[in-house]
């Protein structure tokens, strides 16, 4: 089975799961009092259409996978590591922002330094440009959004 088909089956499965969660939540919605339809039927019908489409997609992906004899990995290799680094660093950045345990400028500077340096494969000569970029952008963005746009960032 090719990667695309695996993704198709997994993502369609997730969508079906989400639809069932919405269906479950919509079950107790009261019927309309002054209008004929009420709150529930529209989300329920929408979820039903998605489930049907996803089931068709899963079936098509399975049939294609059975037929397909093309070898996997013929395209350019993807840098999964970079994507994971970016995703993890962003998650940590947002958690720290949520907990408000550090000023935004320093937090952004740290995030930018780590991610820029990481995306440059942690080459020694790229460390200093990463730090400088991080500090300039971090403090400039904090100034712009707190002083000009009056956003309530942790400072």
């Amino acid at each position: 089975m090719q990667t695309r088909q695996k993704y198709e089956i997994a993502v369609s499965g997730l969508m079906i799961l989400m639809c069932f969660v919405f269906l479950w939540e919509s079950w107790d919605l009261p019927p309309g009092t002054f209008e004929p339809l009420g709150s529930g039927p529209v989300p329920q019908a929408t979820a039903a259409i998605i489930i049907l489409c996803c089931l068709i997609t899963i079936n098509t992906a399975r049939l294609e996978a059975k037929k397909s004899s093309v070898a996997e990995g013929t395209g350019e290799p993807l840098s999964i590591g970079f994507a994971v680094l970016m995703a993890l660093a962003t998650l940590v950045f947002v958690i720290i922002l949520h907990l408000r345990i550090m000023a935004f400028a320093w937090m952004a500077a740290l995030f930018l330094t780590v991610t820029i340096w990481g995306l440059e494969n942690f080459k020694k000569k790229k460390f200093l440009p990463a730090v400088i970029t991080g500090l300039i952008v971090g403090f400039a963005v904090e100034y712009l959004f707190t002083q000009v746009f009056v956003v309530d960032l942790p400072v």
Binding site: R4, Y7, E8, A10, V11, M18, C19, F22, E25, S26, L29, P30, G32, T33, F34, E35, P36, L37, G38, S39, V42, P43, T46, A47, I49, I50, C53, C54, I56, T57, T60, E76, L78, S79, I80, F82, A83, M86, A87, A89, T90, L91, F93, V94, H98, F104, T115, I116, L119, E120, K126, P129, T133, G138, V141, F145, F149, V150, V151, L153
Partner: protein, 503 residues
């Protein structure tokens, strides 16, 4: 009357601050269009939080000029890197890149820039002349007309999106479902909130847009960091198209611009489809079709004229009916709503200055784009090689701060991250993002219209089939659904017949 209003809007744009917005918007649009991996939708979604602090007129001028700039800027990377800066420039890569490699990058870019300019002008004429009459017709639409029009638009978007029709429909309806938590449009009671109080206000458009278009794109770009591109040295020689060239390409230019405008007017279909159709028509009618794909001037002209023409075309249904002509128009609808402006047929009555501002900005941004690109394309081209290792993290910081700035709450940042993951997964599974976002934007309107229509008829849905316009829209939607299935079945049957042994 219209020309006087347009003149007033143009005069307003020429005040220093507003002109600065036009200049910044067009320049940033071109720059972002020229950076591989960054798209116009991403730029406009990230700029939305900044527009909270601007008056609606300036905000819309900034966003429209970004739209025009970004569609045009994609031409640079398509020609010099064989990598479309925006999806709309895909067809330009087929001929722009071979011509640039053959030592004529200036000529290839010059053809593209002039074609973009002409395409923009033709669609602007359509925008100026068609929008108001269409909006007058649209004021006569009842709830069932609106509901069936939106349903037809959803099917249309799904049928022309990348991937299969079924996936397009699933993505569109998924976007619709995701927009439903919050206050019920008819009863005013919370629904689908999972007893979580922050969901009472529903999911806001901005974090969803930033997540789907920016965060998922950043993750995708980070996965693509290893890609090596060939560098073509840039010269500006041939950047200005001669009168002889214009005469030779006149028919192609006008035809492609008209195709682009027409495709733009169809709800939900963006610039990519417009340029594909114009390119195919240009190839089929060319005296030298064999040159297409090897550096054909006609190919570059057709693709670029059409993709820029979709900008003006797509603004027509947005202004006249409140239906987005493309994904970026769906974001523009969000921008208008943020400023408490309801797009739709009454926009000419309630916010005429905004409408004429949009029309004027479309023209002026197009002219400015031509001047900027012909005069400084050599320098803009240098931006293509900006290291993505620096660009992606900086954009991520703007994603976080942009979502936070909406309400000063972390909830929106988490929503943005969540939709970044959803957008990334949908793209990996080849579910198109366009229908998802347009479904998210249009669902509240569709539901409101359906339910108010049913209230008027005491629950009788028959007007959907008995009134002329709803019946027409419903039939069109059914035809759009059935036709791909039928043609697929016919293809399979032909293949099976061909495979059968003779006798």
């Amino acid at each position: 009357m219209e020309l006087a209003a347009l003149g007033t809007a143009i005069g307003q744009i020429f005040t220093p601050y507003t002109f600065l917005m036009l200049f910044v918007g067009t320049s940033l649009g071109i720059v972002v269009g020229a950076i591989p991996g960054m798209t116009g939708a991403m730029l406009i979604a990230l700029t939305l939080p900044i527009t909270f602090y601007m008056d609606p007129f300036n905000a819309i001028i900034l966003l429209i000029s970004m739209y025009v700039g970004a569609i045009s800027g994609g031409l640079i990377t398509a020609t010099l890197l064989r990598m479309p800066g925006t999806p709309a420039a895909v067809m330009t890569t087929f001929d722009g890149y071979p011509m640039a490699r053959a030592g004529k990058p200036g000529r290839a870019l010059g053809l593209g820039i002039t074609a973009s300019f002409v395409g923009g002008l033709v669609s602007w004429v359509a925008l100026l002349t068609i929008t108001k009459p269409l909006s007058i017709i649209a004021t006569r639409f009842g709830p069932f007309e609106y509901f069936t029009l939106i349903m037809m638009a959803m099917v249309l978007i799904a049928s022309v999106s990348e991937g299969s029709l079924v996936k397009g429909i699933a993505a569109g309806f998924f976007g619709m479902l995701i927009s439903m938590p919050g206050v019920d449009p008819a009863s005013g009671m919370p629904r689908l909130t999972f007893d979580y109080y922050l969901l009472n206000g529903g999911l806001k458009l901005l974090p969803v847009l930033i997540g789907v278009f920016a965060v998922s794109q950043i993750i995708n770009d980070a996965m693509d960091m290893g890609r090596v591109t060939e560098r073509i040295s840039m010269t500006s020689k041939g950047i200005l198209m001669s009168l002889k060239d214009l005469r030779l390409q006149a028919v192609n230019l006008i035809r492609s611009s008209v195709i682009g405008t027409g495709v733009g007017i169809l709800p939900g279909i963006g610039a990519s489809i417009g340029s594909v159709i114009a390119y195919t028509v240009a190839k089929n009618t060319s005296k030298t079709p064999e040159k297409f794909g090897t550096g054909s001037e006609e190919g570059i002209v057709a693709s670029e004229a059409a993709n820029n023409a979709t900008v003006g075309g797509a603004l027509i249904p947005l202004i006249a009916m409140g239906i987005p002509g493309s994904v970026i128009d769906a974001i523009l609808i969000g921008a208008l709503m943020i400023h408490s402006i309801q797009p739709g047929p009454t926009l000419f009555l309630t916010n005429a200055d905004i409408v004429w501002g949009m029309v004027a900005a479309c023209l002026l941004a197009n002219i400015l784009m031509y001047i900027l690109m012909t005069s400084s394309v050599k320098y803009i081209a240098g931006l293509m090689y900006m290291p993505r290792s620096f660009v992606l993290p900086v954009v991520m910081v703007f994603c976080v701060i942009g979502s936070f700035a909406l309400n000063n709450t972390m909830f929106d940042v988490w929503v943005m991250l969540g939709f970044g993951v959803i957008g990334f997964l949908l793209e990996r599974a080849k579910y198109p993002l366009g229908p998802f976002v347009i479904g998210f934007v249009l669902a509240p309107l569709a539901e409101e219209k359906l339910r108010s229509g049913l209230m008027m008829t005491a629950g009788d849905p028959s007007p959907i089939l008995t009134r002329p316009l709803p019946a027409l829209f419903t039939l069109a939607a059914i035809a759009l659904l059935v036709w791909p299935l039928y043609s697929d079945w016919r293809k399979k049957r032909r293949a099976a017949n061909a495979a059968e042994p003779e006798g």
